[in-house]
């Protein structure tokens, strides 16, 4: 510590930059910053030099060129003449799809397994332990490859559905076909046709809106879907109002009026009417030629990746859930029981709300891990961001620097978005301490 009597200014000596604690931290920071900038500069100058030696330039013009390759699972329309940028967008959407589906499934399975591990049924608890240990201790890449191999080897090929006496038959009243090329399920469609294939005069739907013209970001929005969704949301809002009214009546009189049928009605009835008006129907998959046509095709690669990622992550989620429940002291359960709350309600009203606070933070990082692990899609040929932008595009154009950097940036943004959103939620359930 320097003494306060030392005069400011005048007698400043360079050595004070190090020895005077008033200046020292500034000195260290500036040195660190200069060091960092030098490092960056060094890397950039090396890169420029090396690229010049290789005769390469840095540019993003390649994104506008035709990609030339096809993508099997595309959430928007795309063909091989579209640009690399659009191919990358397809990949990004596929990444997001498997990440979102994976997180949902991992949460569901993880919570069930976590609770069952605490079950008083010895066998169930043991099976769940075996599941958790098996999945946690084997690399996720192996699980992905395994699930793909299982799907391919155990399910029948589409040709097994052919012929007079097929070896396999469709499930759920001929609506679902499980094949080793993936699952074919009915797809929701609007604008029902009559027998001859002409649109029904007053239930033909509204058509699509095309956004962004021909640009790489273009996409179609189905007007029918918008109508149905807005009806549904309006129904949910009205149902919320009914609940609030019931709350008010309960607070005033102590008796809660029965409202569930009203609430169900305002959500369901208008939506069903809207669906009917828009000519909603399910398109069934049918065996045609080499493959099933119609319906939604959930490809093998997607299912394998989805299952492997969610089961792997679920093993970790289960441990988190179990830890969260165990972290709530037994006194809480006993206190709730003493208040006369029924066992099921103890779980949902006392234990889980408290356990959630312990569970949510590690759960966020599991969601992040799942999203990042979805990049292993290339192992099964699922065309996600690593398969398109950092895969075929990189390989066909030779633009390693641009493609890898863009991919990293996109993943970084996704990760930041997830942790940001979950942190906001986390703050909202956090213990409000005085």
């Amino acid at each position: 510590m320097t003494t306060a009597t030392e005069p400011e200014g005048g007698s400043f000596r360079p050595s004070m930059l190090i020895y005077d604690s008033r200046y020292r931290s500034a000195t260290i920071q500036i040195v660190a910053l200069i060091g960092f900038l030098l490092l960056i500069g060094w890397l950039v100058s090396n890169t420029v030099q090396n690229l010049a030696d290789l005769g390469k330039s840095v540019g993003f013009g390649f994104l506008g060129e035709p990609a030339g390759y096809d993508i099997n699972q595309r959430l928007l329309d795309y063909d091989s003449r579209d640009s690399h940028a659009r191919a990358g967008l397809m990949g990004l959407l596929n990444t997001l799809l498997v990440a979102v589906m994976g997180c949902i499934m991992a949460t569901i399975v993880g919570v069930i397994v976590g609770v069952l591990r605490l079950s008083n049924n010895w066998l169930i608890a043991r099976i769940m332990t075996v599941y958790v240990e098996m999945f946690r201790n084997v690399p996720v890449l192996l699980w992905i490859v395994f699930s793909m191999a299982i799907l391919i080897e155990t399910l029948p090929a589409p040709s097994a559905y052919r012929g007079e006496d097929p070896a396999a038959s469709m499930l759920l009243g001929g609506n679902v076909a499980l094949t080793n090329r993936g699952f074919y399920v009915p797809e929701p469609l609007f604008g029902r046709m009559d027998e001859e294939g002409n649109p029904l005069s007053w239930r033909q739907g509204l058509g699509d809106v095309h956004l962004f013209g021909d640009a790489w970001l273009r996409f179609d929005v189905s007007l029918e879907l918008i109508v149905v969704l807005s009806t549904l949301i309006a129904g949910i809002l009205v149902s919320g109002l009914i609940r609030k009214r019931a709350d008010r009546i309960q607070n005033r009189t102590g008796l809660r009026p029965r409202t569930w049928y009203w609430r169900a009605a305002v959500i369901l009835l208008p939506t069903i009417i809207a669906l009917w008006l828009m000519g909603f129907y399910l398109g069934k998959p049918e065996l045609r030629g080499f493959n099933f046509a119609g319906g939604t095709h959930m490809r093998n690669s997607f299912i394998a990746l989805w299952l492997a990622l969610s089961l792997y992550t679920a093993a970790f989620v289960a441990e988190i859930v179990r830890g969260g429940i165990l972290a709530i002291s037994g006194g809480q359960t006993e206190a709730a029981a003493a208040l006369g709350i029924r066992p099921r309600r103890i779980m949902s009203l006392v234990i889980l709300p408290q356990a959630l606070r312990v569970i949510i933070p590690p759960l966020i990082s599991q969601y992040l891990n799942l999203t990042k692990n979805s990049s292993l899609a290339i192992a099964v040929g699922y065309m996600d961001l690593t398969g398109t932008l950092m895969g075929i595009t990189l390989n066909q154009t030779g633009r390693e620097l641009e493609a890898v950097m863009m991919t990293m940036l996109i993943y970084l943004l996704i990760s930041l978005a997830i942790s940001g959103a979950m942190n906001i939620y986390n703050n909202s359930v956090k213990l409000k301490e005085r």
Binding site: Y19, I28, N50, E400, M408
Partner: protein
């Protein structure tokens, strides 16, 4: 008033508990069939287990250890009269050494084995501090320099000189402490070994080697492969990232804004991107970032990226350890008049690192499993080797046997480590109370 005739006057003899409450039956009732719901669950699970076993066991139970190719296996299985096929273990008999050691020369395989065994001795005093005498810590220190030498070979002088670096730094510190004060001495003490390693170790080592040629045969890293590669990448990355991770964690906790934000930026960046993108950087970009003419081989580049990757995660683990220390420890250090570095070195870090060990072990398990990703950029780790083995016309078409073998290896090692980590966590919790 005195008619207590309903009161029993003599005790009934003790009776055995009913059969349904004790022994196997009692246990079954209590644990498996305690209600209709539980009974259904139990029966369903038994059916599930039976189905799985019925599908797998006949396949597993196939004596094909001697087969020299897949077609031989198929003949053996056909002779056995199995309808749904069976496992072909011939490929494991023929290739297990490759799956474990990659292309490491046959006659030198004692070196990775010795390194691996040494790892346990070196980690002993850290992981099982009550069993191993503290003197073994000297071996741990020496191991840091001996292990790379054993694996890669070369002159004995190189590890000795590398080990001399920190000693030189310490000497410089002691010598300069009185002359230019603490901070200056610390800076010099850090710079001296780095400069020494960069510019002097190579020439001095080769000079000494030409005079006294003591050393091991050089094994280049491209010969590393199989399970050994996974372990080695994991161990090297974690060992180096411990140092980097502690620095980053301290940086993140620091009051110095720029240092703090640089650390936070680095940690969040690394944690925000998938490992596979970092491996792509290693395989396609790292050489472009280095000065023209530099050329690391791919395994070293992967190790660099894996180290950076692990250090961000270790930093978070250590940060957790630092945060878990009671505030009083920091205040006590301040009260003793220790400066920042002394407080960290003598009081904060020893405790914080100790409670971070379970987290560090988990990070290692995660990294170890993630090393399988190197197969995607073409390195021959166990998964990468399966491709090469299946390219052999004899084994074309083999899937489950190889993946099963690899999964088993990973399961055994990761399971053992996670059990250790849980045991330690329990022990630490007990110590704490």
């Amino acid at each position: 008033m005195a008619d207590y005739s309903y009161v029993r006057e003599d005790m009934l003899p003790e009776r055995e508990p009913p059969v349904s409450e004790v022994g196997i039956i009692g246990w079954l009732r209590e644990n498996l069939f305690s209600g209709w719901f539980n009974s259904i669950l139990t029966i369903l699970s038994l059916m599930f287990i039976y189905m799985i076993l019925a599908a797998i066991v006949p396949w597993l139970w196939t004596p094909t250890w001697g087969a020299g190719s897949l077609s031989e296996c198929r003949e053996i299985i056909a002779d056995l009269g199995k309808q749904h096929g069976g496992a072909c273990y011939g490929v494991i008999t023929e290739r297990w050494q490759q799956l474990l050691f990659g292309f490491y020369p046959d006659e030198l395989r004692w070196r990775p084995i010795l390194t691996f065994l040494g790892l346990f001795v070196a980690l002993g005093p850290v992981l099982f501090s009550d069993v191993f005498p503290r003197k073994v810590l000297w071996f741990t220190g020496a191991y840091l320099f001996l292990a790379p030498w054993l694996m890669w070979g070369g002159a004995i002088w190189t590890p000795l000189l590398v080990a001399a670096g920190p000693a030189l730094g310490y000497l410089a510190y002691r010598f300069l402490y009185g002359v230019i004060g603490n901070l200056g001495a610390v800076i010099v003490a850090v710079l001296v070994p780095i400069l020494f390693w960069l510019f002097l170790v190579g020439p001095i080592s080769s000079g000494l080697f030409s005079v006294i040629p003591l050393g091991l045969e050089v094994v280049e890293s491209r010969l590393f492969g199989g399970f050994m590669l996974s372990v080695w990448i994991g161990v090297v990355a974690i060992a180096i990232s411990l140092v980097l991770g502690v620095v980053l964690a301290l940086g993140r906790q620091s009051d110095l804004l720029i240092v703090k934000y640089l650390s936070v930026g680095f940690i969040e960046f690394i944690r925000g991107v998938p490992l596979i993108t970092l491996l792509f950087v290693a395989s396609t970009l790292l050489n472009i970032f280095m000065p023209p003419g530099t050329n690391f081989d791919i395994i070293l580049r992967v190790m660099i990226m894996a180290t950076l990757f692990a250090s961000a995660y270790i930093a978070e683990v250590v940060r957790g350890g630092l945060a878990a220390l009671p505030r009083g420890q920091y205040e006590a250090a301040d009260a003793l008049g220790l400066d920042y570095w002394k407080a960290q070195r003598l009081i904060i870090l020893p405790q914080a690192l100790k409670i971070s060990i379970p987290g560090i072990v988990s990070t290692f398990i995660g990294l170890f499993k993630d090393t399988t990703l190197v197969s995607i950029i073409g390195l021959l780790d166990p998964i990468g080797l399966t491709g090469s083995i299946r390219a052999d016309a004899n084994w074309n078409g083999i899937v489950w046997e190889l993946y099963g073998f690899i999964a088993l290896l990973f399961f055994l090692s990761c399971f053992a480590m996670s059990r250790y980590s849980m045991w330690l966590e329990k022990k630490l919790r007990k110590d704490h109370h």
